[in-house]
Amino acid sequence: MRRASAALLTAPLLLFLLVTFVAPIAAFLWRGVTDTEVAPVLPRTAAALSAWDGRALPDEAAFAALVEDLRAARARDRQAGGGSIARAAARLNADKPGFRGLLPMTARRVEAPFDGAARAVLITISEEWGEVETWGAIARAAGPLSSFHALTALDLRQDAAGAIRAAPEDQSVFRAVLLRSLWISLLVTAACLLLAWPIAWLIATTRGAAGILLLAAVMLPFWISLVVRTAAWMVLLQREGVVNAALAATGIVDAPLPLMMNRFAVVLAMVHILLPFMVLPLVAAFRALDPRLPRAAASLGAPPWRVFLRVTLPLCLPGIGAGCLLVFIQALGFYVTPALLGGPNDQMLAWFVGFYATRSVNWGLAAALSILLLVAVGLCVALYGRLAGFRRLGAA
């Protein structure tokens, strides 16, 4: 009875979140491991290639199936205006550049009936149909499950025969982006820890107005909109902004410094935005620390650095871990601040998710990158659960 009523009270919110949050995200991520654009357009080709080993060109049956598929799809597109060939071509183009033009062009050229082998006709239309990898791209996109997007997100490619190798140099970018995201987040976390330590210590150990003022200095920015804080940094760091004007007025520099659109600006603003998330758990940890313990260690003759390393630090470790993980997790997903303050090679994973979702119809890749991001965040959360237990996540 009691459990049932408790479940009943929780049900509306759970249902609401399942429908408006969990289900949309699951459906989106599902696109990262599936392929649904090509099979409906080229069903016969996909079937003909299902048993193909990918070592030599497929046989005539596959060529004939492709011709038949393209004729059917073109007739459908003409009637319903669905643009399905364009969409299949877009998906194949993501695998093998050139498909965006190749598929619609081939569809136009094979529309009229012809005599003779489909293979010879297709290869006359374009030599690309005589390449194994052209067919490999179709086979890889046949779905329904597919590792293509996940591999792309890791800068890997699978060839027609199934071997996985690194993507060509001029197409690899995502491993670098992942490392960059991790590096920026790590840098921000370290800087936050360094800056948060003294102020958190003071807040935890100072009584009276001074301590309250310091706490207010942390809480106020915590409540102010992220966009406003990013805007503030833009105003400060602009070439003709506050900082450069001040530097020039005091004669420290002759020419204004380029302070914006670089990694420095991104890290600086992110530290500013995330610092309260480090300070507050540290304050909690310092307050819970029994001040008699370090004093006892000192009175037993331990030098201050030893007291710090052996007594204070281990006792505060859960708080430090909480702060670090909170900052790190949030930093990983940053979108707005790097977009406004960073240059093109300061953009993090989130920017690429947005890019592939809204500027290039590649939801599969956007989903695969999201999975990458969520795995990184999930590992951190799991680590956090190990270190501190989940109960404190809410409290922080």
Binding site: A6, T10, T20, W223, L236, G333, V353
Partner: protein
Amino acid sequence: MARAACWVAGVLVAVFLLAPIFAIVPLSFSAGSFLFYPLPGLSLRWYRDFFGSDFWLPAVWNSLGIGLASAALATLLGTPAAFGLWRMKGRFRAVAMGIVLAPMVVPVIVVAVALLLAFGPIGLVATHAGMVIAHAALGAPFVVVTVLASLEAFDPVQLRAASACGAGPLRAFFRVCLPQIAPGVAAGAVFAFATSLDEVVVALFIAGPAQRTLPRQMFAGLNDTISLTTTAAAAMLVLLSVVLLAVVGWLQGRKKAGGG
């Protein structure tokens, strides 16, 4: 000695935290149009610009409307859920807690793109309803966490007493528990409102021009030309945040006083 060094460092960090905000607010009262000091004079021209423009004032109303509606929805769903979670034990509670807290942890870009793709075909993109739903989902965990925290101070024996007097569990909740945790609920609602007021990424992806919120409009302004009107908008948001912070502080003070 070490403590003095600690003070120097701590005050410097406090300055670092506050300086950008204190730098941007006075600029909005400038009589000139430059983004640096000294100010050529004081004026309210950028605020006149703000209230006279086709874009900023509707953005204010959108922010307030979407914020209030989503906070109301989040509170309505979150308060009973927190109560349910508080009385739950075991595996189911862990799973439910995971779902409820997920919006705090999942990177908001993933939420934004997922909602764009889910809301698009059902016509919720570029609607106020879509924005309210999305922001309510993002704000609900804050309500749950805040209400759960205030339930810690609530003695469950009172519920047993109520049921001994013949009150059903719902009645007991409304009559006995809710009045005592009301400051916590209100604080949760303020958190949810602040979450909506702060949110920009979801708004970037699923709001249309008629749903532009203040931060979304600021983002557009920052991308285009950083005019002092944008700093005026920033100053208004700062003011709003200070009000919210004060409200939460007051509510928490009340809670403490109420709890003894």
